[in-house]
């Protein structure tokens, strides 16, 4: 196993590290400025992928970083904002915004190092503190073909959106200090280790687990933790029979559209290069989004008589969450199948969680992200195969064997998320208390926690 000093992105052995890059494009760019010999040298070193910062790759990942931050601010914020009652809209926005700030600071202080640093003897489980405060990382420090500070930033946007996803489990009733404390501890205890296992050279990476952009790291962790938190917090007043509907489905749609566009940064950016890998990841991401949306809308049409706006955008998010782990490995036709499956399966699970299990995972984080991420992670084992239009599993590895690794990954990530979340919640409950009073819940968190009104009507 390569020393994981720099982030390792899984690629099948049959594919060259820069094999996807368009040689003509590289040649054309270099040949203008340099002599033939210098051009050949630069081309050769670009093909090594460990030396030299490539401006094309960097430009794309700089952009992708902005796109993924945009997914949280304001994409996810608006998406959730529209789904809650009007007197809680600001609190939903506040949760996402403050988590973005807290996660950013913690990422610098410790979480990046834990996720992607070298853990020495414990590197199978967690990174060390060698990169705390980005120690030793200067402007010229490279991580693959991009600056390490950029890799740090790109990964930070993932570390921001993952705890922000969990906001959907607890709106309208969680105490603000509890939310901040939970999110902060969760980032360090759940997100950073899992990111290390899968992307930072930890044990799941060693086993060859395939998670291109965060099916396990982002969606399973957030989804499972959300379910645990929703269960322990208790449901909203009036759940399940007397709830108030989403106050602004239009706002939700606006946020959802930002998620779709931003997801191009999320998945295509996870290629960490600008070229065929990123382009194909973008393609399959988009196809899955559209397919998921249509499948959900169609199922709703059949089941309830009308296709709804909230339904179709939720299906889109399900499609995106599900394609996330697969986005670097599957082809467009596979993405179509994955998207359709996502739209149908995730919809079914929203009913299972709310009506059968009676857990008020208010904005369906587990059903859409938890199940979607798990589904996509497992589906990768099949749709990555050449037979199903994918770009190949690792040499010598068959689909069923890979499925075993994927399943092990999903189960272990889910188990760790659940157990750790349980402990964190108990701690937070003891320290600051979890839930507002019933009167406060009736009045709404906007006034109670933030002293503001969303609408002046």
């Amino acid at each position: 196993m390569r020393a994981a000093r720099y982030p390792v992105r899984w690629r099948p052995a049959s594919q060259g590290t820069k094999g996807g890059k368009n040689m003509l494009e590289t040649w054309g760019r270099r040949a203008v400025a340099a002599a033939l010999a210098a051009s050949a040298l630069v081309w050769a070193s670009a093909a090594q992928a460990q030396e030299g910062i490539d401006s094309g790759d960097s430009a794309w990942i700089l952009t992708a970083t902005a796109l993924v931050l945009f997914m949280t601010l304001p994409g996810l914020a608006l998406f959730y904002g529209g789904l809650v009652r009007a007197n809680n809209v600001l609190s939903a926005l506040m949760h996402c915004f403050s988590i973005a700030c807290v996660a950013s600071v913690l990422w610098l202080i410790v979480a990046y190092s834990l996720a992607f640093g070298d853990g020495g003897g414990a590197n199978a489980l967690i990174g060390g503190l060698g990169k705390a405060f980005l120690a030793g990382v200067g402007k010229e420090t490279a991580s693959g073909s991009i600056p390490e500070s950029l890799f740090f930033m790109f990964q930070m946007t993932f570390a921001i959106i993952t705890p922000a996803l969990i906001v959907g489990a607890y709106p309208e009733r969680i105490r603000f200090p509890a939310m901040i404390l939970f999110s902060a501890i969760w980032l360090i205890v759940v997100y950073a280790p899992v990111a290390h296992w899968v992307w930072g050279g930890g044990w799941l990476a060693d086993l060859g687990a395939m998670d291109f952009a965060g099916g396990m790291v982002v969606h399973v962790t957030a989804g499972v933790s959300a379910l645990v938190l929703a269960k322990m917090l208790g449901g909203r007043r009036g759940f399940p029979s007397e709830l108030r509907p989403p106050h602004n489905p239009g706002m939700t749609m606006i946020g959802a559209c930002m998620l779709w566009v931003g997801w191009f940064g999320f998945n295509a950016g996870s290629a960490l290069t600008a070229g065929g890998d990123a382009a194909m990841a973008m393609t399959v991401t988009h196809i899955s989004a559209a397919a998921g949306a249509l499948a959900w809308a169609a199922a709703e049409w059949v089941r309830f008589g009308k296709p709804s706006l909230i339904g179709i955008v939720t299906g889109m998010v399900a499609g995106l969450a599900t394609i996330t782990p697969a986005s670097g490995f599957v082809g467009p036709a596979g993405a179509l199948a994955i998207g359709v499956a996502a739209g149908l399966v995730c919809q079914w699970f929203t009913g299972l969680v709310k009506q059968t299990m009676r857990i008020d995972d208010s904005l369906d984080v587990f059903a859409v992200h938890g199940i979607g991420g798990a589904l996509g992670t497992l589906a990768t084992a099949f749709f990555a195969t050449a037979a199903l239009g994918g770009f190949g599993l690792a040499e010598g590895v068959g689909a069923l064997q890979q499925l075993g690794v994927q399943a092990l990954g999903v189960i272990s990530v889910a188990a760790w998320s659940a157990i750790a979340s349980f402990v964190i919640i108990k701690l937070v409950q003891a320290l600051v208390g979890l839930r507002v009073s019933q009167d406060e819940e009736i009045e709404g968190l906007d006034i109670v926690a933030h002293g503001e009104r969303g609408y002046d009507l």
């Binding site: 709830l243 989403p246 309830f304 009506q355």
Partner: protein, 112 residues
């Protein structure tokens, strides 16, 4: 003097306003309210969960008229606001004790 309160379907507001203007009633207060009578509510479905919405949007019109105009005012509102479907609304007539025009201080019938 009488104070007439009419709760009507929102899309009928313009028609009622035109009808009142036609009979010489030139002032009114309009508010957005919610309510139900026999119409009941409707069901909305979000992500598979049903929400019963009992209170429907309505428009409440309030207009003060002198006794001589009450009958034709009520008839005008009734005719303009009617669709024949449940939920058309109701008209209530109150006795009005006093009225003042704030700008000029005119009282009662002169203020209407």
């Amino acid at each position: 003097m009488k104070f007439i309160v009419a709760v009507i379907k929102p899309h009928k507001l313009d028609q009622v306003r035109d009808a009142l203007t036609a009979i010489g009633v030139h002032g009114m207060t309009v508010s957005e309210v919610r309510g139900y009578g026999r119409q009941g509510g409707h069901t909305e479905i979000y992500r598979g969960a049903e929400y019963q919405v009992s209170f429907l949007p309505k428009i409440k019109i309030e207009v003060a008229v002198d006794d001589a105009s009450v009958e034709r005012t009520v008839e005008a509102i009734e005719a303009a606001a009617k669709t024949g479907q449940i939920g058309d609304g109701k008209i209530f007539v109150y006795d009005l004790g006093r009225a003042v025009r704030i700008r000029t201080g005119e009282q009662n019938e002169e203020a209407l």
